[in-house]
């Protein structure tokens, strides 16, 4: 019993922090407080609900702490006439959805999960199924309050400190800690969704249907069976949706759906080419009739995966990555087909492949979408993953496309710079103005922007010189694949190593309940 309690307490002191994909792994603590302005002072990075897949929410090697925003979730004001909501950055979308759906409002742009924070939605400038109509989340944000690197608290908006605003929307939290967000919610005619889904035979039919639907449906999304090749390449289901008019909607309001959870990490390797093929074929043929129509619960429509909490555990301890890239219209109508062929050539087994249509670029300088289509695939991480991502990135660069930072864990700096020849220098110039010492940084910014960690050690926010002095994976820049299992095993076998303890920053002095 004694040992049990000791092990628990020591391991948790040095908790493991990961993104949604469980890769890479960081030794760091997430400090949380209701007082976000107080908490973020001197911190290198903020983190919300940790739904970014890769390393965007992980501290840079050498930093050992991030500011968790989830307890700062107060709504500061809501004006039903304009629909403008102001709230602290840690407010979760789930709270927001279920508070405002009964009042006839919905988030102007919704990602594929409710388990994100308002701050995270701004930092990733998230998009949804309606991007071709509604744009990104940042386009509906009317103002932000940030704690910038020099410690000041600054308000910015599309008109005030416009540069800072443009760099922050989609800026992955690297321009300042997002403290408060004002956003204009969308008025909806009813809380139910009218949908029509179509089973399509191959990628060309899919693309044609997607582009055609864009003109008549506000929301479109599709799932592709990318385990099929040949003439079935890119067969899938296209789902189109819109808010139901009051006369179409069921009389009773929708209630939050029941959830189940994957209780623990399933064995790695459970999701493999064979199970993926079976799963994909099942999903495809479940949609037996060519066309389906109906009225559907908003949660089932927007957040189908949310009904299974911790679904990322299905990939096991080794984790997985999502690769999401944008192929611009200029790359030609056959670009998605060539991308799927490349995926097959790389023998990537993805149980989920989503293709979405995109409209104009957002106000955010590093925002992901631009006119074209985006393709997202999930696959388990193994020794080949870095090579696969490199090959996919080569293709995307030639196509003039880019990757989505909120998903990314493996893109190399030279690849990322090649994807952003025009926007990245402008963004970096703004960042230099607000944070010349790069006090705000993440594991991702070290990897894709080449932030030098040594240059900032010893600054008030670092607090982790000992962490960097540790040999091995914690100090290694970038999520090199080899380092991942090493980090995990270092923690499980030696939770009580002294140097780790020495690096812990003192927790806040007094606490109140």
């Amino acid at each position: 019993m004694l040992d049990c309690f000791l092990a628990v307490s020591l391991r948790a002191q040095w908790s493991i922090l990961t993104g949604w994909g469980h890769v890479p792994v960081a030794h760091a603590r997430e400090l949380r407080s209701e007082d976000l302005p107080g908490l973020t002072a001197g911190m290198p990075l903020s983190r919300g609900l940790g739904r970014s897949y890769g390393d965007s929410s992980l501290p840079a090697p050498g930093d050992d702490v991030v500011a968790g925003s989830t307890l700062a979730d107060r709504i500061l004001s809501f004006d039903p006439d304009s629909g403008i909501l102001r709230a602290e950055a840690g407010l979760s979308l789930r709270d927001m959805v279920w508070l405002f759906l009964p009042r006839g409002f919905f988030t102007p742009v919704s990602p594929g999960t409710q388990y994100v924070t308002l701050g995270g939605m701004v930092a990733a400038d998230i998009h949804g199924k309606g991007h071709h109509r509604d744009g990104c989340f940042g386009q509906h944000v009317t103002s932000l309050r940030l704690r910038v690197a020099d410690g000041r608290i600054v308000d910015c908006s599309p008109t005030k400190e416009r540069d800072l605003f443009r760099a922050t929307v989609g800026g992955m939290g690297l321009t300042g800690h997002i403290l408060e967000v004002s956003v204009r919610l969308k008025r909806i005619p009813s809380p139910w969704i009218v949908y029509e889904s179509v089973r399509v035979d191959d990628i060309d039919a899919y693309m044609a249907a997607l582009k055609e639907a864009a003109s008549t449906w506000p929301q479109t999304v599709g799932f592709i069976d990318c385990s099929k090749g040949g003439r079935h390449l890119g067969r899938g289901i296209l789902i189109k949706g819109r808010w139901a008019e009051p006369k179409e909607a069921p009389p009773q309001p929708p209630q939050p759906k029941r959830t189940r959870a994957v209780p623990f990490n399933l064995p790695s390797g459970l999701i493999n080419p064979l199970t993926t093929r079976i799963f994909n074929a099942f999903t495809y043929w479940k949609h037996w009739s060519r066309v389906r129509r109906g009225v559907i619960h908003p949660e089932a429509y927007f957040y189908p995966l949310d009904k299974l909490l911790h679904w990322n555990r299905a990939y096991g301890r080794r984790g997985f990555t999502q690769y999401q890239c944008l192929l611009p219209n200029a790359a030609g109508p056959d670009a998605p087909r060539r991308f799927l062929e490349l995926l097959r050539a790389q023998r990537v087994a993805s149980p989920v492949c989503v293709i979405k249509d995109h409209g104009p670029e957002s106000i955010g300088l590093l925002s992901f979408p631009c006119p074209g289509v985006s393709i997202a695939v999930d696959f388990p991480v193994d020794d080949r993953t870095q090579g696969v991502v490199d090959a996919l990135n080569d293709f995307v660069i030639k196509a003039g496309g880019r990757v989505y930072l909120a998903k990314d864990a493996f893109t190399r700096e030279e690849h990322y710079r090649a994807m952003e020849p025009r926007r990245l220098p402008e963004w970096e110039a703004i960042r230099r103005r607000w944070d010349p010492e790069k006090k705000l940084r993440s594991r991702q910014s070290v990897r894709i922007l080449g932030d030098r960690v040594e240059a900032v050690l010893g600054s008030p926010g670092a607090g982790a010189a000992t962490g960097a002095a540790l040999p091995g994976p914690t100090a290694a820049p970038g999520p090199s694949l080899a380092s991942v299992p090493a980090v995990a095993s270092a923690v499980s076998t030696a939770p009580a190593e002294a140097p780790l303890d020495a690096a812990a920053p003192p927790p806040p002095r007094s606490r109140t309940a």
Binding site: M1, L2, F5, L6, V8, S9, L10, R11, A12, Q13, R29, L31, R32, S33, E34, D35, G68, L71, R74, I75, L76, S77, F78, L99, P507, P508, R509, S510, R511, T512, A513
Partner: protein, 247 residues
């Protein structure tokens, strides 16, 4: 219910306040920091179930007993005779930090015991004068046994639990229901950065359990409920064993 809530700006108090306004109860907020109270009041108003609900506030600091009477007076005026007082406020720090900081120990002991008891006395007098009411106070499972990680904090909560128990015995017949809430480890800002033990709960779950306890007029509410079992075992452990384990 017409509820006066001390501690509603944070943690379990915040979650409980949200649950209460969501169920259309009236709320009056007490706390130390006026600006912070105002922010929380707006939050409760927007989350409230009624469109025109207003949540008013008054400053009340457990370290300053002279603030108690005016604060409860203001609550009485705003709500029109409150019938429920909930106290979730309290101070906490891990044992190591407390041992290094006697000044903070004094503040903590005063706030968690003396201050809370004096506030309860003030609330008791007002509610008994009009036939009774409900007094809900957050103590802690830390007060159940003398335990290594919570020697000082546990002592302050042990005293509080005994006071509340006695109060319930003495006045329940006169209409004053006292609900002693004993949270186990709950993941809030107060415990942020601490190692998370098994059976840890979250503030929203605790709020639901507490509200049910209030509705059923339970004298003692463990939250999450599994801690009733955990503490039943811990209470039975011999001293010899308590001296050995780290819990």
């Amino acid at each position: 219910m017409k509820v006066v809530l001390l501690g509603g700006t944070k943690g379990m108090g915040r979650a409980l306040g949200r649950l209460l306004v969501g169920k259309s109860h009236d709320l009056f907020l007490l706390g130390r920091d006026e600006a912070d109270l105002a922010r929380s009041a707006r939050d409760f108003e927007v989350r409230g179930n009624r469109p025109a609900q207003t949540v008013k506030t008054a400053v009340c600091d457990l370290a300053r007993p002279e603030t108690f009477a005016p604060a409860l007076e203001a609550a009485d005026r705003a709500l029109g005779a409150f019938d429920t007082v909930i106290v979730t406020a309290g101070l906490f720090a891990p044992q190591d930090e407390l041992e290094a900081d006697p000044a903070f120990v004094a503040r903590m002991l005063h706030a968690n015991f003396t201050g809370t008891v004096l506030l309860c006395e003030e609330a008791r007098k007002r509610m008994l004068a009009r036939g009774g009411g409900t007094l809900v106070v957050f103590s802690s499972v830390a007060g159940e046994r003398g335990r290594k990680p919570v020697v000082l904090y546990g002592a302050s909560k042990a005293g509080l639990s005994r006071y509340l128990e006695g109060l319930d015995h003495r006045y329940r017949n006169e209409g004053l229901v006292v609900v002693t809430v004993k949270p186990g480890f709950v993941k809030t800002g107060m415990t942020a950065g601490l190692p998370v033990p098994p059976f840890a709960g979250d503030a929203e779950g605790v709020a639901k359990v507490v509200l049910r306890g209030i509705e059923r007029q339970r004298p003692v509410v463990y939250a999450p409920p599994i801690w009733a079992l955990v503490m039943a075992v811990i209470r039975l452990l011999p001293r010899l064993l308590m001296r050995k384990i780290a819990f």
